[in-house]
């Protein structure tokens, strides 16, 4: 996940160029913008709408429909910890409490210094070796065992 920064049309144009030939380019462009800027700012919505000849409402509709697109900046690192059934069966609740304590931030919140965001996610497809989490998209498993230390190392703690 990117570092949140201000929207830059020139940079956005460079990122969007790669997808300009594509049919259905909206999602790939939004992914690219979020990857670079960390969120989809209102200026970005207007810029994409103009470029793809869509209304701002259409672009906003897509941004708000998909959980991965953010309409406000997240922390510089994003940690998603699985709360689904299989991970619950292997101690996800305890792991979540430990992460909250070690990272100093509650589930669903961003640290005041914007260093990180801790979020729930429902199933990462790591049901066989849960509890599991993603740190900036990188999977960590076995968090009730050795995985927790690795995961915290991945966060830089």
């Amino acid at each position: 996940m990117g570092h949140s920064s201000d929207f830059d049309p020139a940079e956005a144009a460079r990122l969007a160029l790669e997808h300009s030939h594509q049919e259905g380019a909206l999602l790939p462009i939004l992914h690219a913008l979020q990857g670079r800027f960390g969120w989809i700012a209102p200026e970005a919505v207007a810029w994409v709408a103009e470029r793809l000849n869509l209304s701002r409402a259409e672009v906003h509709g897509v941004v708000s429909f998909y959980h991965d697109f953010r309409d406000h900046p997240a922390g510089r690192q994003v940690i998603k910890v699985c709360q689904a059934e299989a991970c619950q069966a292997r101690g996800a609740r305890h792991v979540t409490a430990q992460l909250e304590e070690r990272l100093g931030v509650k589930l669903g919140q961003t640290a005041p210094d914007r260093s990180l965001t801790l979020e729930p996610v429902y199933c990462l497809g790591l049901c066989g070796n849960g509890p599991a989490a993603l740190v900036d998209g990188r999977p960590y498993a076995d968090l009730s065992g050795r995985g927790l230390a690795r995961c915290l190392k991945g966060v830089g703690r």
Partner: protein, 401 residues
């Protein structure tokens, strides 16, 4: 091999769709109109995201080339020159590895303008989802590929006639396509011979999770029973002192099974006889001491959150179910609330554009039918009989769900 030859072998192999519906793959391909002047597409549904389902990720991360090979064969069978692999947003590592494999194929001349010198052009594109469970529904996936909100389409027209960009489209699950290469290479008889059941051919990836000793993904012959899978393959219960209480057979949308219902073959047809589904082939095992009401609350929270909002019964009903079940779980429910679950759930099922309505009402109805006494106990005792939600390490705790 001609397109018809490929389709015949796949039909004869009895390969069925591994995304959950179990539709025969070869027959699906045969529905694409041969005389359509439009381009055709193959879409790979790699949006595996129902909680408890974790087999496609394994294929994409460990052997993406097998998926690409099957996708290319499917394209050839319907004369498609472009395919899209729609990978779920959360499966980042899988997406990286599939893209790497695609790049290798282009570099080796296996994909591109002239596939292995045959003169056949084929492009395969990777497309990332963005965290919406509903995009695993095939027509929602098409909408999402077109750059729109992932809201399912009314069928008919079916995608084979009018799919991606209103062109004939075949949509298959990752595991289904990964099986195609070996079937073409070794023949239909070889594949059917790998299965213990008549209903379908081959082996199946089974992802066992929950309270078992050895959770994981296993490749097993088709038609084993759930009892064999849980107690012989996955090593039985994690805590031998706790008996098996129930099994969610194939993703959280599938009706729950009781211990005495585990002896039918775990295939698409047989499991229907006990009123459930094989779904994605990923059973979650639940031990004694687990609160079923709490489990259902968690499941309904997920579905209420993931409804695309298009159909009122699902958008509103999912939230109602979650609220009613939460109330009961917190010890604040009434006996009327219990009946309300059935009343609301029965009005969602069958009244929505896609099967999401079923996915959220089936667990509610089946858990209530099979564990009604637990709901009643919550109301009578005005609390969860299993005690408050523990946060202690799992090895010390009794209650999970």
């Amino acid at each position: 091999m001609t397109s018809d030859d490929i389709i015949k072998v796949v039909i004869d192999s009895k390969l069925r769709g591994r995304g959950g519906a179990g539709f025969p793959a070869g027959r699906k391909w045969s529905f694409v109109p041969k005389d359509s002047p439009k381009p055709r597409y193959v879409c790979v549904n790699a949006d595996e995201s129902e909680p408890g389902t974790f087999k496609d990720r394994y294929i994409m991360e460990r052997d993406p080339h097998q998926l690409i090979e099957g996708t290319a064969i499917a394209c050839k069978s319907i004369n498609a020159h472009a395919a899209y692999i729609y990978v779920r947003g959360e499966l980042g590592l899988a997406a990286v590895r599939v893209q790497q494999a695609l790049d290798e194929c282009y570099a080796a001349g296996i994909l591109g303008k002239n596939v292995m010198g045959s003169g056949y052009a084929l492009d395969i594109y990777l497309h990332r989802g963005a965290g919406a469970y509903i995009c695993g529904e095939e027509t929602a996936l098409l909408e999402s590929l077109e750059g729109k909100k992932g809201q399912p389409r009314l069928k008919p027209p079916f995608p084979a006639v009018e799919g991606l960009f209103a062109c004939p489209t075949v949509i298959n699950n990752v595991e289904t396509l990964a099986a195609v290469g070996p079937i073409i290479q070794n023949g239909a008889a070889w594949w059917t011979g790998l299965s213990r059941t008549e209903a379908e051919g081959g082996t199946k990836l089974i992802g066992v999770s929950g309270h078992v000793a050895r959770p994981g993904v296993y490749e097993l012959p088709g038609g084993l029973t759930l009892r064999e899978i849980i107690f012989e393959v996955a090593g039985g219960m994690r805590n031998p002192d706790r008996k098996l209480k129930a099994v969610v057979p194939g993703g959280t949308s599938c009706p729950i099974l009781l211990p005495h219902e585990l002896d039918t073959a775990y295939d698409f047809d047989a499991i229907k006889k006990v009123g459930s589904m094989m779904g994605t082939g990923c059973p979650a095992v639940i031990e004694e001491g687990t609160c079923i009401v709490r489990l259902l609350k968690r499941i309904e929270r997920f579905y209420a959150h993931e409804s695309c909002g298009q159909c009122t019964p699902c958008r509103e009903g999912g939230d109602w179910l979650f609220k009613i079940i939460s109330r009961i779980e917190a010890g604040q429910g009434s006996m009327a609330d219990i009946d309300k679950i059935e009343s609301v759930a029965s009005k969602i099922e069958g009244h929505t554009i896609c099967a999401f309505g079923e996915a959220l009402s089936w667990p509610a109805r089946s858990y209530l039918k099979k564990f009604r006494e637990e709901f009643v106990e919550h109301v009578k005792q005005k609390r969860c009989p299993y005690g408050p939600i523990p946060v202690a390490p799992v090895a010390l705790s009794g209650v999970v769900a």
